[in-house]
Protein backbone atom coordinates (compact mmCIF):
# COMPACT_ATOMS: atom_id res chain seq x y z
CA UNK A 1 0.00 0.00 0.00
CA UNK A 2 1.31 3.45 -0.85
CA UNK A 3 1.36 6.21 1.75
CA UNK A 4 -1.44 7.91 -0.16
CA UNK A 5 -3.72 4.86 -0.08
CA UNK A 6 -2.94 4.29 3.59
CA UNK A 7 -4.06 7.85 4.35
CA UNK A 8 -7.23 7.30 2.30
CA UNK A 9 -7.83 4.05 4.14
CA UNK A 10 -7.42 5.75 7.50
CA UNK A 11 -9.98 8.38 6.54
CA UNK A 12 -12.38 5.72 5.29
CA UNK A 13 -12.02 3.75 8.54
CA UNK A 14 -12.65 6.95 10.53
CA UNK A 15 -15.80 7.62 8.52
CA UNK A 16 -17.09 4.06 9.02
CA UNK A 17 -16.42 4.07 12.77
CA UNK A 18 -17.75 7.61 13.26
CA UNK A 19 -21.00 6.63 11.53
CA UNK A 20 -21.47 3.60 13.81
CA UNK A 21 -20.70 5.41 17.06
CA UNK A 22 -22.43 8.59 15.93
CA UNK A 23 -19.46 10.85 16.54
CA UNK A 24 -17.74 13.50 14.44
CA UNK A 25 -14.82 11.87 12.52
CA UNK A 26 -12.59 14.72 13.69
CA UNK A 27 -12.82 13.32 17.24
CA UNK A 28 -11.22 10.09 16.10
CA UNK A 29 -7.50 10.74 16.38
CA UNK A 30 -5.33 7.71 15.62
CA UNK A 31 -4.75 7.07 19.34
CA UNK A 32 -8.15 7.98 20.75
CA UNK A 33 -9.42 4.87 22.51
CA UNK A 34 -13.05 4.19 21.62
CA UNK A 35 -13.72 2.32 24.84
CA UNK A 36 -11.94 4.59 27.33
CA UNK A 37 -12.39 7.97 25.63
CA UNK A 38 -15.64 7.66 23.70
CA UNK A 39 -17.69 5.25 25.80
CA UNK A 40 -17.89 2.56 23.13
CA UNK A 41 -19.10 -0.77 24.56
CA UNK A 42 -18.80 -4.37 23.38
CA UNK A 43 -22.03 -4.05 21.40
CA UNK A 44 -20.80 -1.04 19.43
CA UNK A 45 -17.50 -2.87 18.93
CA UNK A 46 -19.39 -5.62 17.11
CA UNK A 47 -21.30 -3.07 15.04
CA UNK A 48 -17.95 -1.48 14.08
CA UNK A 49 -16.71 -4.94 13.06
CA UNK A 50 -19.80 -5.61 10.95
CA UNK A 51 -19.46 -2.20 9.25
CA UNK A 52 -15.73 -2.59 8.54
CA UNK A 53 -16.29 -6.07 7.09
CA UNK A 54 -19.20 -4.98 4.91
CA UNK A 55 -17.67 -1.78 3.58
CA UNK A 56 -14.09 -2.96 3.14
CA UNK A 57 -14.75 -6.56 2.08
CA UNK A 58 -12.61 -8.11 4.80
CA UNK A 59 -13.18 -10.85 7.39
CA UNK A 60 -12.20 -10.04 10.98
CA UNK A 61 -11.72 -13.01 13.30
CA UNK A 62 -13.55 -13.32 16.64
CA UNK A 63 -10.42 -12.75 18.71
CA UNK A 64 -9.47 -9.67 16.70
CA UNK A 65 -12.65 -7.77 17.64
CA UNK A 66 -11.51 -6.68 21.12
CA UNK A 67 -8.21 -5.55 19.64
CA UNK A 68 -9.83 -2.76 17.65
CA UNK A 69 -9.63 -0.02 20.27
CA UNK A 70 -8.34 2.92 18.23
CA UNK A 71 -8.34 4.06 14.61
CA UNK A 72 -4.64 3.23 14.56
CA UNK A 73 -5.33 -0.36 15.64
CA UNK A 74 -8.17 -0.67 13.16
CA UNK A 75 -5.93 0.61 10.37
CA UNK A 76 -3.14 -1.82 11.25
CA UNK A 77 -5.59 -4.72 11.26
CA UNK A 78 -7.33 -3.71 8.04
CA UNK A 79 -3.98 -3.15 6.30
CA UNK A 80 -2.84 -6.60 7.35
CA UNK A 81 -6.06 -8.26 6.22
CA UNK A 82 -6.06 -6.40 2.88
CA UNK A 83 -2.47 -7.47 2.21
CA UNK A 84 -3.33 -11.10 2.94
CA UNK A 85 -6.40 -10.85 0.74
CA UNK A 86 -4.44 -9.39 -2.18
CA UNK A 87 -1.61 -11.96 -2.04
Amino acid sequence: MTEHTIKDMEEEIKRIIAEVIEEDPSKLGADVNFFDDLGVDSIKAIEITVALEKKLGIVIRDNQIPRIGTVGEALALVKNLMEKKNK
Partner: protein, 431 residues
Protein backbone atom coordinates in the same frame (compact mmCIF):
# COMPACT_ATOMS: atom_id res chain seq x y z
CA UNK B 1 -53.46 -36.08 4.11
CA UNK B 2 -53.88 -34.17 7.35
CA UNK B 3 -50.65 -33.10 9.04
CA UNK B 4 -49.71 -35.14 12.07
CA UNK B 5 -49.68 -33.21 15.33
CA UNK B 6 -46.80 -33.74 17.72
CA UNK B 7 -47.18 -33.85 21.48
CA UNK B 8 -44.89 -34.37 24.46
CA UNK B 9 -45.91 -37.29 26.63
CA UNK B 10 -42.91 -37.82 28.87
CA UNK B 11 -40.16 -35.77 30.46
CA UNK B 12 -36.97 -36.85 32.21
CA UNK B 13 -34.80 -34.23 33.88
CA UNK B 14 -31.50 -34.93 35.64
CA UNK B 15 -30.38 -31.58 37.03
CA UNK B 16 -28.30 -30.07 39.83
CA UNK B 17 -31.47 -29.06 41.69
CA UNK B 18 -33.50 -32.18 41.24
CA UNK B 19 -33.68 -35.53 39.50
CA UNK B 20 -37.09 -36.34 38.06
CA UNK B 21 -39.88 -33.86 37.41
CA UNK B 22 -41.20 -33.57 40.96
CA UNK B 23 -37.82 -32.91 42.53
CA UNK B 24 -36.86 -30.49 39.75
CA UNK B 25 -40.07 -28.47 40.10
CA UNK B 26 -39.64 -28.36 43.87
CA UNK B 27 -36.08 -27.18 43.32
CA UNK B 28 -37.31 -24.40 41.02
CA UNK B 29 -40.01 -23.29 43.44
CA UNK B 30 -37.57 -23.20 46.34
CA UNK B 31 -35.01 -21.33 44.19
CA UNK B 32 -32.31 -23.94 44.59
CA UNK B 33 -29.14 -23.56 42.53
CA UNK B 34 -26.61 -26.00 43.95
CA UNK B 35 -23.59 -24.00 42.85
CA UNK B 36 -20.40 -25.62 44.05
CA UNK B 37 -16.73 -24.86 43.76
CA UNK B 38 -14.73 -27.14 41.50
CA UNK B 39 -11.08 -27.38 42.40
CA UNK B 40 -9.05 -28.99 39.66
CA UNK B 41 -5.98 -30.65 41.08
CA UNK B 42 -2.98 -31.88 39.13
CA UNK B 43 -1.25 -34.13 41.61
CA UNK B 44 -1.24 -31.94 44.71
CA UNK B 45 -1.17 -28.67 42.81
CA UNK B 46 -4.27 -26.64 42.11
CA UNK B 47 -4.64 -26.02 38.39
CA UNK B 48 -7.70 -23.85 38.52
CA UNK B 49 -10.87 -23.24 40.52
CA UNK B 50 -14.28 -22.45 39.10
CA UNK B 51 -17.92 -22.67 40.09
CA UNK B 52 -20.66 -24.68 38.49
CA UNK B 53 -24.15 -25.99 39.24
CA UNK B 54 -23.32 -29.51 40.22
CA UNK B 55 -25.23 -32.79 40.39
CA UNK B 56 -24.16 -34.40 43.64
CA UNK B 57 -24.44 -37.98 44.85
CA UNK B 58 -25.53 -39.22 41.43
CA UNK B 59 -26.04 -42.96 41.33
CA UNK B 60 -26.68 -44.57 37.94
CA UNK B 61 -27.90 -47.62 39.84
CA UNK B 62 -30.89 -45.70 41.22
CA UNK B 63 -32.96 -45.52 38.03
CA UNK B 64 -34.05 -49.10 37.55
CA UNK B 65 -31.72 -49.79 34.66
CA UNK B 66 -30.67 -53.41 34.24
CA UNK B 67 -27.44 -54.35 36.02
CA UNK B 68 -26.06 -55.79 32.77
CA UNK B 69 -26.58 -52.48 30.98
CA UNK B 70 -24.87 -50.52 33.75
CA UNK B 71 -21.97 -52.96 33.78
CA UNK B 72 -21.69 -52.73 29.99
CA UNK B 73 -21.47 -48.94 30.16
CA UNK B 74 -18.97 -49.05 33.00
CA UNK B 75 -16.88 -51.68 31.28
CA UNK B 76 -16.87 -49.82 28.01
CA UNK B 77 -15.92 -46.64 29.80
CA UNK B 78 -13.26 -48.17 32.02
CA UNK B 79 -10.46 -45.83 30.83
CA UNK B 80 -12.39 -42.70 31.74
CA UNK B 81 -15.79 -42.51 33.34
CA UNK B 82 -18.10 -40.68 30.95
CA UNK B 83 -20.66 -39.31 33.34
CA UNK B 84 -22.54 -37.56 30.54
CA UNK B 85 -23.57 -40.98 29.19
CA UNK B 86 -24.96 -41.89 32.62
CA UNK B 87 -26.94 -38.64 32.76
CA UNK B 88 -28.29 -39.36 29.29
CA UNK B 89 -29.33 -42.91 30.16
CA UNK B 90 -30.94 -41.79 33.43
CA UNK B 91 -32.86 -39.00 31.68
CA UNK B 92 -34.21 -41.35 28.98
CA UNK B 93 -35.29 -43.86 31.61
CA UNK B 94 -37.12 -41.14 33.57
CA UNK B 95 -38.83 -39.85 30.40
CA UNK B 96 -39.92 -43.31 29.27
CA UNK B 97 -41.24 -44.15 32.74
CA UNK B 98 -43.06 -40.81 32.85
CA UNK B 99 -44.66 -41.47 29.45
CA UNK B 100 -45.93 -44.89 30.64
CA UNK B 101 -45.13 -46.10 27.16
CA UNK B 102 -45.15 -49.84 26.59
CA UNK B 103 -43.34 -51.24 23.58
CA UNK B 104 -41.97 -54.50 22.32
CA UNK B 105 -38.28 -54.81 23.04
CA UNK B 106 -36.99 -56.88 20.15
CA UNK B 107 -38.49 -54.67 17.44
CA UNK B 108 -40.41 -51.42 17.57
CA UNK B 109 -40.91 -48.12 15.82
CA UNK B 110 -39.18 -45.93 18.41
CA UNK B 111 -36.77 -43.34 17.03
CA UNK B 112 -34.04 -41.50 18.86
CA UNK B 113 -32.46 -38.06 18.48
CA UNK B 114 -29.55 -37.24 20.76
CA UNK B 115 -28.02 -33.79 21.24
CA UNK B 116 -24.60 -33.15 22.74
CA UNK B 117 -21.81 -30.68 22.01
CA UNK B 118 -18.79 -32.87 22.59
CA UNK B 119 -19.52 -36.31 24.01
CA UNK B 120 -16.68 -37.86 25.94
CA UNK B 121 -14.23 -35.06 25.23
CA UNK B 122 -13.66 -33.93 28.83
CA UNK B 123 -12.82 -37.38 30.25
CA UNK B 124 -10.73 -38.17 27.17
CA UNK B 125 -8.62 -35.03 27.64
CA UNK B 126 -8.33 -35.61 31.39
CA UNK B 127 -7.20 -39.17 30.75
CA UNK B 128 -4.61 -38.31 28.12
CA UNK B 129 -3.11 -35.49 30.23
CA UNK B 130 -2.90 -37.71 33.28
CA UNK B 131 -1.36 -40.64 31.40
CA UNK B 132 1.13 -38.37 29.64
CA UNK B 133 2.36 -37.02 32.98
CA UNK B 134 2.51 -40.58 34.37
CA UNK B 135 4.52 -42.02 31.46
CA UNK B 136 6.93 -39.09 31.31
CA UNK B 137 7.69 -39.20 35.01
CA UNK B 138 11.22 -40.41 35.47
CA UNK B 139 11.57 -41.30 31.80
CA UNK B 140 12.46 -38.08 30.01
CA UNK B 141 14.54 -40.03 27.46
CA UNK B 142 11.57 -42.04 26.16
CA UNK B 143 11.39 -41.91 22.37
CA UNK B 144 8.43 -40.27 20.72
CA UNK B 145 7.32 -43.64 19.31
CA UNK B 146 7.51 -45.33 22.73
CA UNK B 147 5.42 -42.55 24.22
CA UNK B 148 2.92 -42.66 21.33
CA UNK B 149 2.54 -46.44 21.73
CA UNK B 150 1.92 -46.12 25.46
CA UNK B 151 -0.57 -43.27 25.04
CA UNK B 152 -2.39 -45.11 22.25
CA UNK B 153 -2.78 -48.23 24.36
CA UNK B 154 -3.86 -46.25 27.42
CA UNK B 155 -6.18 -43.68 25.88
CA UNK B 156 -7.44 -44.75 22.47
CA UNK B 157 -10.57 -46.37 23.80
CA UNK B 158 -11.59 -43.20 25.62
CA UNK B 159 -10.85 -41.38 22.36
CA UNK B 160 -13.39 -43.52 20.55
CA UNK B 161 -15.96 -42.18 23.01
CA UNK B 162 -15.71 -38.79 21.35
CA UNK B 163 -17.39 -40.41 18.34
CA UNK B 164 -20.93 -39.16 18.61
CA UNK B 165 -22.55 -42.36 17.33
CA UNK B 166 -21.54 -44.12 20.53
CA UNK B 167 -24.16 -42.22 22.54
CA UNK B 168 -26.84 -43.40 20.11
CA UNK B 169 -25.50 -46.92 20.34
CA UNK B 170 -25.59 -47.04 24.13
CA UNK B 171 -29.08 -45.53 24.32
CA UNK B 172 -30.39 -47.87 21.62
CA UNK B 173 -28.83 -50.87 23.38
CA UNK B 174 -30.12 -50.01 26.85
CA UNK B 175 -33.65 -49.04 25.80
CA UNK B 176 -34.11 -51.27 22.76
CA UNK B 177 -34.77 -48.46 20.32
CA UNK B 178 -34.83 -49.86 16.82
CA UNK B 179 -35.98 -47.29 14.26
CA UNK B 180 -34.40 -44.08 12.97
CA UNK B 181 -31.60 -42.41 14.94
CA UNK B 182 -29.86 -39.10 14.60
CA UNK B 183 -27.13 -37.19 16.42
CA UNK B 184 -27.50 -33.42 16.55
CA UNK B 185 -24.85 -30.83 17.36
CA UNK B 186 -25.83 -27.21 16.92
CA UNK B 187 -23.97 -25.93 19.97
CA UNK B 188 -26.27 -24.51 22.66
CA UNK B 189 -29.27 -24.68 20.36
CA UNK B 190 -28.92 -28.46 19.89
CA UNK B 191 -31.94 -29.31 22.05
CA UNK B 192 -34.38 -27.33 19.93
CA UNK B 193 -32.87 -28.64 16.69
CA UNK B 194 -33.29 -32.14 18.11
CA UNK B 195 -36.97 -31.55 18.93
CA UNK B 196 -37.60 -30.28 15.41
CA UNK B 197 -35.77 -33.24 13.85
CA UNK B 198 -37.75 -35.70 15.98
CA UNK B 199 -40.98 -33.94 15.10
CA UNK B 200 -40.20 -34.26 11.40
CA UNK B 201 -39.49 -37.98 11.84
CA UNK B 202 -42.99 -38.43 13.22
CA UNK B 203 -44.63 -36.13 10.68
CA UNK B 204 -43.12 -37.98 7.74
CA UNK B 205 -44.41 -41.27 9.11
CA UNK B 206 -41.16 -42.99 10.08
CA UNK B 207 -42.21 -43.37 13.71
CA UNK B 208 -45.10 -42.57 15.96
CA UNK B 209 -42.72 -41.98 18.85
CA UNK B 210 -39.32 -40.33 19.02
CA UNK B 211 -37.19 -39.84 22.09
CA UNK B 212 -35.17 -36.64 22.25
CA UNK B 213 -32.30 -36.69 24.73
CA UNK B 214 -29.34 -34.52 25.62
CA UNK B 215 -26.70 -34.25 28.31
CA UNK B 216 -23.49 -32.54 29.24
CA UNK B 217 -20.99 -32.61 32.04
CA UNK B 218 -18.88 -29.51 31.40
CA UNK B 219 -15.60 -29.56 33.25
CA UNK B 220 -12.19 -27.95 33.47
CA UNK B 221 -11.28 -27.96 29.76
CA UNK B 222 -14.52 -26.29 28.67
CA UNK B 223 -14.12 -23.86 31.57
CA UNK B 224 -10.60 -22.92 30.49
CA UNK B 225 -11.86 -22.12 26.98
CA UNK B 226 -14.59 -19.85 28.33
CA UNK B 227 -12.16 -18.28 30.77
CA UNK B 228 -9.82 -17.51 27.87
CA UNK B 229 -12.78 -15.91 26.06
CA UNK B 230 -13.48 -13.86 29.20
CA UNK B 231 -17.00 -15.29 29.25
CA UNK B 232 -17.15 -17.16 32.55
CA UNK B 233 -18.42 -15.65 35.79
CA UNK B 234 -15.70 -16.20 38.37
CA UNK B 235 -18.10 -15.77 41.30
CA UNK B 236 -20.44 -18.51 40.07
CA UNK B 237 -23.48 -16.23 39.78
CA UNK B 238 -25.14 -16.24 36.37
CA UNK B 239 -27.20 -13.04 35.94
CA UNK B 240 -29.26 -13.03 32.74
CA UNK B 241 -29.85 -9.53 31.32
CA UNK B 242 -28.42 -7.87 34.43
CA UNK B 243 -26.29 -4.75 34.08
CA UNK B 244 -23.62 -6.51 36.14
CA UNK B 245 -23.75 -9.81 34.26
CA UNK B 246 -20.28 -11.23 33.91
CA UNK B 247 -20.59 -14.50 32.09
CA UNK B 248 -21.71 -18.10 32.00
CA UNK B 249 -21.73 -20.63 34.83
CA UNK B 250 -21.88 -24.26 33.76
CA UNK B 251 -24.36 -26.82 34.99
CA UNK B 252 -24.35 -30.62 34.89
CA UNK B 253 -27.38 -32.29 33.46
CA UNK B 254 -29.25 -34.74 31.35
CA UNK B 255 -32.67 -34.35 29.80
CA UNK B 256 -35.05 -36.36 27.68
CA UNK B 257 -38.56 -35.97 26.35
CA UNK B 258 -40.90 -38.35 24.57
CA UNK B 259 -42.44 -36.89 21.41
CA UNK B 260 -45.44 -38.67 20.04
CA UNK B 261 -48.02 -38.47 17.30
CA UNK B 262 -51.14 -36.97 18.93
CA UNK B 263 -53.40 -39.75 17.62
CA UNK B 264 -51.03 -42.40 18.97
CA UNK B 265 -50.93 -40.65 22.35
CA UNK B 266 -54.73 -40.37 22.47
CA UNK B 267 -55.17 -44.07 21.65
CA UNK B 268 -53.11 -45.09 24.66
CA UNK B 269 -54.61 -42.32 26.82
CA UNK B 270 -51.22 -40.80 27.51
CA UNK B 271 -50.70 -37.74 29.66
CA UNK B 272 -49.92 -34.83 27.32
CA UNK B 273 -47.77 -31.95 28.56
CA UNK B 274 -48.08 -29.82 25.45
CA UNK B 275 -48.16 -29.83 21.69
CA UNK B 276 -45.02 -28.85 19.82
CA UNK B 277 -46.47 -26.41 17.32
CA UNK B 278 -43.32 -25.67 15.37
CA UNK B 279 -39.91 -24.08 15.30
CA UNK B 280 -37.82 -21.48 13.57
CA UNK B 281 -34.13 -21.87 12.82
CA UNK B 282 -31.33 -19.85 11.28
CA UNK B 283 -27.58 -19.95 10.87
CA UNK B 284 -25.67 -16.67 10.82
CA UNK B 285 -22.45 -18.11 9.44
CA UNK B 286 -20.47 -15.18 10.82
CA UNK B 287 -18.45 -15.64 14.01
CA UNK B 288 -18.16 -18.44 16.57
CA UNK B 289 -18.43 -16.58 19.86
CA UNK B 290 -20.02 -13.32 18.76
CA UNK B 291 -23.61 -12.81 17.59
CA UNK B 292 -24.14 -10.70 14.49
CA UNK B 293 -25.50 -7.60 16.17
CA UNK B 294 -27.14 -5.30 13.66
CA UNK B 295 -28.53 -8.16 11.57
CA UNK B 296 -31.93 -9.76 12.15
CA UNK B 297 -31.36 -13.51 11.99
CA UNK B 298 -32.69 -14.06 15.51
CA UNK B 299 -35.81 -11.99 14.84
CA UNK B 300 -36.48 -13.99 11.65
CA UNK B 301 -36.05 -17.21 13.63
CA UNK B 302 -38.75 -16.21 16.11
CA UNK B 303 -41.03 -15.01 13.32
CA UNK B 304 -40.57 -18.33 11.50
CA UNK B 305 -41.58 -20.22 14.64
CA UNK B 306 -44.71 -18.07 14.95
CA UNK B 307 -45.54 -18.53 11.29
CA UNK B 308 -45.06 -22.31 11.31
CA UNK B 309 -47.10 -22.54 14.50
CA UNK B 310 -49.81 -20.37 12.94
CA UNK B 311 -49.75 -18.15 16.01
CA UNK B 312 -49.69 -14.41 16.47
CA UNK B 313 -47.15 -12.85 18.77
CA UNK B 314 -50.04 -11.66 20.96
CA UNK B 315 -50.87 -15.29 21.77
CA UNK B 316 -47.54 -16.03 23.43
CA UNK B 317 -47.88 -16.05 27.22
CA UNK B 318 -44.28 -16.68 28.22
CA UNK B 319 -40.85 -16.46 26.62
CA UNK B 320 -38.08 -18.60 28.06
CA UNK B 321 -34.95 -16.81 26.91
CA UNK B 322 -31.47 -18.25 26.41
CA UNK B 323 -30.32 -15.71 29.06
CA UNK B 324 -26.65 -16.65 29.30
CA UNK B 325 -25.52 -13.72 31.44
CA UNK B 326 -23.12 -12.30 28.85
CA UNK B 327 -23.93 -8.65 28.20
CA UNK B 328 -23.28 -8.79 24.46
CA UNK B 329 -25.32 -11.94 23.87
CA UNK B 330 -28.03 -10.73 26.29
CA UNK B 331 -28.25 -7.46 24.32
CA UNK B 332 -28.61 -9.40 21.07
CA UNK B 333 -31.40 -11.48 22.61
CA UNK B 334 -33.19 -8.54 24.27
CA UNK B 335 -33.09 -6.65 20.96
CA UNK B 336 -34.69 -9.59 19.14
CA UNK B 337 -37.40 -9.86 21.82
CA UNK B 338 -38.24 -6.15 21.72
CA UNK B 339 -38.17 -6.06 17.92
CA UNK B 340 -40.86 -8.76 17.89
CA UNK B 341 -42.90 -8.00 21.02
CA UNK B 342 -42.24 -4.28 21.48
CA UNK B 343 -40.38 -2.44 24.20
CA UNK B 344 -41.13 -3.58 27.75
CA UNK B 345 -44.07 -5.74 26.68
CA UNK B 346 -46.62 -6.55 29.38
CA UNK B 347 -47.18 -9.81 27.52
CA UNK B 348 -45.43 -12.18 27.06
CA UNK B 349 -43.65 -12.50 30.38
CA UNK B 350 -39.93 -13.03 29.91
CA UNK B 351 -37.89 -15.32 32.10
CA UNK B 352 -34.72 -17.41 31.98
CA UNK B 353 -33.78 -20.60 33.81
CA UNK B 354 -29.99 -20.85 33.70
CA UNK B 355 -29.56 -19.30 37.16
CA UNK B 356 -31.23 -22.42 38.61
CA UNK B 357 -29.40 -25.15 36.76
CA UNK B 358 -26.45 -23.45 35.05
CA UNK B 359 -25.56 -23.60 31.41
CA UNK B 360 -25.76 -27.21 30.28
CA UNK B 361 -24.22 -26.32 26.88
CA UNK B 362 -25.47 -28.83 24.27
CA UNK B 363 -28.25 -29.93 26.62
CA UNK B 364 -29.39 -26.54 27.92
CA UNK B 365 -32.25 -25.87 25.50
CA UNK B 366 -33.84 -29.26 26.15
CA UNK B 367 -33.48 -29.12 29.92
CA UNK B 368 -34.94 -25.58 29.97
CA UNK B 369 -37.78 -26.74 27.72
CA UNK B 370 -38.61 -29.31 30.40
CA UNK B 371 -38.75 -26.58 33.08
CA UNK B 372 -40.94 -24.55 30.71
CA UNK B 373 -43.32 -27.52 30.29
CA UNK B 374 -43.54 -27.85 34.06
CA UNK B 375 -44.23 -24.11 34.31
CA UNK B 376 -47.04 -24.53 31.76
CA UNK B 377 -48.48 -27.48 33.61
CA UNK B 378 -48.46 -25.61 36.94
CA UNK B 379 -49.43 -22.20 35.49
CA UNK B 380 -46.51 -20.63 37.28
CA UNK B 381 -43.78 -18.54 35.69
CA UNK B 382 -40.60 -19.06 37.72
CA UNK B 383 -38.60 -15.89 38.25
CA UNK B 384 -35.17 -15.24 36.78
CA UNK B 385 -32.86 -15.59 39.75
CA UNK B 386 -29.89 -13.27 40.31
CA UNK B 387 -31.15 -10.51 37.99
CA UNK B 388 -31.39 -7.42 40.14
CA UNK B 389 -31.17 -4.56 37.65
CA UNK B 390 -31.84 -5.20 34.00
CA UNK B 391 -29.26 -3.49 31.79
CA UNK B 392 -30.92 -0.15 30.86
CA UNK B 393 -30.00 -0.68 27.19
CA UNK B 394 -32.30 -3.69 26.90
CA UNK B 395 -35.88 -2.34 27.13
CA UNK B 396 -37.26 -5.56 28.60
CA UNK B 397 -38.68 -6.50 31.97
CA UNK B 398 -37.72 -9.83 33.47
CA UNK B 399 -39.91 -11.85 35.83
CA UNK B 400 -38.32 -11.28 39.23
CA UNK B 401 -40.96 -12.86 41.43
CA UNK B 402 -42.93 -16.04 40.81
CA UNK B 403 -46.05 -15.26 38.75
CA UNK B 404 -49.17 -17.39 38.73
CA UNK B 405 -50.89 -16.89 35.36
CA UNK B 406 -52.62 -19.20 32.90
CA UNK B 407 -49.93 -20.37 30.49
CA UNK B 408 -51.26 -21.88 27.31
CA UNK B 409 -48.64 -20.98 24.72
CA UNK B 410 -44.94 -20.60 25.43
CA UNK B 411 -41.90 -19.78 23.36
CA UNK B 412 -38.41 -21.13 23.99
CA UNK B 413 -35.60 -19.29 22.24
CA UNK B 414 -31.91 -19.85 21.94
CA UNK B 415 -29.03 -17.97 20.26
CA UNK B 416 -26.02 -20.24 20.28
CA UNK B 417 -22.33 -20.01 19.50
CA UNK B 418 -21.51 -20.13 15.79
CA UNK B 419 -24.76 -18.29 15.05
CA UNK B 420 -27.23 -21.13 15.51
CA UNK B 421 -30.55 -19.47 16.36
CA UNK B 422 -33.59 -21.50 17.32
CA UNK B 423 -37.14 -20.89 18.53
CA UNK B 424 -39.82 -23.40 19.49
CA UNK B 425 -43.47 -22.92 20.41
CA UNK B 426 -45.47 -25.18 22.73
CA UNK B 427 -49.22 -25.17 23.41
CA UNK B 428 -50.85 -26.77 26.40
CA UNK B 429 -54.53 -26.97 25.44
CA UNK B 430 -55.10 -29.80 22.99
CA UNK B 431 -58.30 -29.63 20.99
Amino acid sequence: MKDKRIVITGIGPVTPIGVGKKELWQGVLSKKTNVRQEKCLIGRETWDIFYKHKIENFDIGAFGLKDDDIEYMKDWKKDAEAIDLYYLAAAIKLALDDSALEYTQNDNELSLVVAHENPGLEPFLANIFEKLAFFMKGKPDMTRKELTDKLYNACSRAGYETQAFMLLFHAAKIFNIHRYSLFVNNACASGLYAIEAASELIKCGRSSIAIVAASDHPDIYKYLWFKELNMYDKSGVLRPFDKNADGFVFGDGGSAIVLEDLEHAKKRDAHIYAEYLGGGFSLEGWKVTTPKIGDDFYQKTILEALSRSKKNKEEIDVVCAHGVGNRTIDYYEAKAITDIFGKRPAKPLITAFKPYIGHNLGGNALIETIILLLAMENNIVPPTLNTNTVDPRFNIDIVKEKRAIPINIALKICCAFAGYNAAAIFKKEIK
